[in-house]
Every structure is written in structure tokens, then in C-alpha cells.
Amino acid sequence: MSSTQEDIIWTIKINKRMDEAVQKVLYQLGYKSKAEFTREAIREFLIRRKLFSLLGGDVFIPRSFELTPENALNALIAQLEKLPSDVLKEEVETARIEVEKELLDDG
């Protein structure tokens, strides 16, 4: 990877055991360099943190459900229709901007 004026070089001191562990991961997962692995690992960590701030935690897809999709749909609609449509639109707009800022803005 060539450097640009916007790039910053990190120098990180790590112990031998960590270095060995990273070398093992590079070998097993096919990363081209420690820098590539570190960048990806940090990025993954940040996405997890950002997901936490958006949704209050990691997202888990439930394995079993209490309601049929039909009943769940009716239950969700019953809640949403308590709010005026302009509120729904406003919240959609705000949520989309928040998700964009957290997940698609890498600075």
C-alpha cells in the first residue's frame, strides 16, 4: 500500500507472544501483512462498538419465535400506528443519518 499525505504510520510495541499469535492468524487466514490484519481487526472492533451505540448491543437473530409472522406483523403495526406519520418519517430520517454516521463514516 502506498502512503498518501493523509496516512499516518503507527508504531506499536507488542510482546513476543502477541507477535506469534498474529503471525499464526496471518498464516491461517491469508492476510498479506500484519498491517492489513491490524487495520481489519481494528475496523471490526469499531463496527461492533458502533453497533452497540446504535442498538444497545450485538444483534442476534432469534432461533425460535413466539408469534407467527402474521401475528407479529399485526402486533408491530398496532404499535406503529399509535404514532403520527410525520413522526415516523422524522424518525426514519434521523435513524438513517445516525446509521450512516456510525457505519459509513470512517473519518
Partner: protein, 165 residues
Amino acid sequence: MDKRKKNAIKSVIFDCNVWITDFLKKESELRNKITNNKYQVILTSYMVVEILRVLKRLSIRLSISYTELETHFWEICSFNYIKTDFKEPFTESLISEVRCIPEFKIIAKILDLEVKDVPYLVATFQHTAILVSNDLRSLIDKRNLIEKNLGIKIQTTTEFLASFK
């Protein structure tokens, strides 16, 4: 060949606004058209995060538990016409989807779009789907340019419904 084409399942992607205000409502014409015709609604991990974030915000407005709304959403995803384009663990799928931020930014810049629209365009392209959006300011405003460059068809909910008549 024509008969096969006629019976083929078509894919559609709804933007978050369409999901919340047109699909998740009582007596939804959009839902009726989807269920009565051979359509599958594609959902990617990025789209799910947007919808869940809206539900989280709405749960605060309604003073109810977010978990309740989130669970209903996942239950709804088990309709056979909804195709989820992600796997467990969900976060891994999301990381794969949003790792191409530089590419997303380039696409947004070329087409003069907001970056948040790009995951929708990428998914629409990947699934050879129709994108339904009511975002007049961005996607709808730029749709001719998008169709010309990427071959992606974008319709408003009204236009999508009119196509069944």
C-alpha cells in the same frame, strides 16, 4: 422461455422509509401486491440495522421495550417472501457489507448521492432487483443517472404499485 420469465420470482428492495411507512401499516397495498405476486423482498444486514435503529427510536417515543419491537421484526422476517441476505453471526455479515467504505464513497461521489444510499444500490445491483424509495431528494432525483450508469431501476411506492395495473 416467456412462460419461465413470467413465473420467475422478482426481487425488490425497499428503502427504510418504504418499510416503515408503506409496508408496516394496516391495509398496506404494497404488502398485498408483494404477497399476491411472485416477489421476494431482499433484506441485507445494513438495511436491518437501519430498520432496527428506527424501531429503537420509536420504542422510546412509545415508551415500550425495544426488545418487543425487535422480536416482532425478526418474526416478520420469517415470511417466505422475505429473503434475508445475511448469516449468523449477524455482525460478521454487517462487517463484510460495510467494509468497502472507500468504494461506497467513490460511487456516491460519481453519482452525486449520499453515501447512505450506496448500500441499497449495491444490493439492488447484486440481486437484479427493483429499488423502491420515496427519497425524492436523493435517489429519485438521481434515478435517471443511476439507471443509465448502473442499470438499476428505481421507483417510488406509487409507481411500483401502478406497475401492477
